[in-house]
């Protein structure tokens, strides 16, 4: 697969669980070469929890110039992500927070990002993943 034509939108995955965030990043990255996908799961010492300061660092690492979509899983992961946006201040202008499903949203967003879509298109794809037909019926 060829590299994206311009800097790709990056993704940040926020979960209480380091394993959930890292595993989702692995899964999404498999389909999206050239996309920066940064896991921000758990606390700095590896325990379950969320840390907005780590989310800020993850956003900075994920931003290659085209912006970042942050996906949060449950509860305080969303609060931590919102707090990170406040801490980022003006740098949050090209950061979006997805309310879509975590795993499916990350995979779809990674694919869209790898195609060079802009940050709002990647966000829309991440949130639309809630309606993904998994063909179970």
């Amino acid at each position: 697969m060829s590299a994206p034509p311009r800097p790709a939108v990056g993704l940040v995955l926020v979960s209480h669980s380091p394993l959930v965030a890292a595993g989702t990043a692995e899964l999404a990255g498999q389909m999206a070469p050239g996309v920066r996908i940064v896991a921000a799961g758990g606390l700095a010492d590896g325990r379950l929890g969320t840390d907005a300061v780590r989310v800020v660092a993850a956003v900075e690492a994920a931003d290659g110039g085209a912006g970042v979509v942050v996906l949060a899983d449950l509860g305080s992961a969303v609060l931590a992500a919102r707090t990170a946006l406040e801490l980022l201040g003006e740098r949050a202008a090209r950061v979006r927070l997805s309310g879509g499903p975590f795993v499916e949203g990350a995979v779809v967003a990674a694919v869209e990002a790898s195609l060079g879509r802009d940050v709002d298109r990647v966000l829309a794809a991440a949130e639309a993943a809630a309606g993904l037909d998994k063909h179970v019926r």
């Binding site: 209480h16 929890g49 840390d51 305080s76 406040e86 801490l87």
Partner: protein, 228 residues
């Protein structure tokens, strides 16, 4: 902003600077440490049983950093911002971003002043409360810390410029009444909201820790021997 009428008389003419704020945080940490098991038991009934442990961990980290955060050159705002970032990165649960945002907005409201008076402090606490409510998309009666803090901070602002120790005591009483008022309600935020009707009748752990924050403020700012 709450304006302070010229010539107003406060009990003990309080000026709130870095030492007073550090004392507030130390007292809050001590109250939470003493109530850790109670907070966790309350949270075990309607949440994920981590409120006491999480908040205690975050506040112990704050206390450990206070000498550095309050070192010469510190302002109330720089101290409180450091407190906010410490809570945000060490609490782990929802109370990290919520109390963290409270202290972040309070810090922002105080500007670069080396110390502030009661009116500025009350306005800053109001900004902190607004930030917390915005962060959690929280409204009154959702059964959260906001239900204790909102009436307490309103009482603080409305009580000025009466004697400071009386105003602080009234603020704590209003907070405790707010905490107890929502106990019969069904929680609408956090893990407790997953329980629906089962949350009714249980005292909210967040509102409980919020009252400790108010008690710590009273104890730090009221003159020794003050009522309450």
């Amino acid at each position: 902003m709450t304006e302070t009428p010229a010539g107003a008389v406060f009990g003990a003419a309080p000026t709130v600077g870095v030492p007073e704020l550090a004392d507030w945080l130390r007292r809050f940490a001590a109250l939470v440490a003493a109530a850790k098991d109670e907070l966790t038991a309350l949270d075990a009934a309607i949440g994920d049983a981590d409120h006491g442990v999480n908040l205690d961990r975050g506040l112990q980290a704050v206390v450990a950093r206070l000498p550095e955060l309050g070192a010469p050159g510190a302002t109330p705002a720089s101290l409180l911002k450091g407190v906010a970032l410490t809570l945000i990165s060490t609490v782990g649960g929802a109370s990290g971003p919520l109390y963290g945002t409270f202290f972040l907005r309070l810090a922002g409201s105080l500007g670069d002043a080396p110390a502030v008076g009661p009116g500025e402090l009350a306005a800053g606490l109001r900004a902190g409360l607004d930030g917390m409510a915005e962060r959690g998309r929280t409204q009154l009666d959702d059964k959260t810390m906001v239900d204790a803090l909102a009436p307490a901070i309103a009482a603080l602002a409305a009580g000025l410029p009466a004697a400071w120790d009386e105003v602080l005591a009234r603020s704590v009483a209003a907070g405790a009444a707010g905490r107890d008022r929502v106990t019969p309600l069904v929680a609408r935020k956090g893990r407790a909201s997953y329980l629906g009707e089962r949350s009714a009748g249980h005292q909210d752990p967040g509102a409980t820790s919020a009252v400790l924050l108010l008690e710590a403020l009273r104890d730090a700012l009221a003159p020794a021997g003050a009522p309450g």
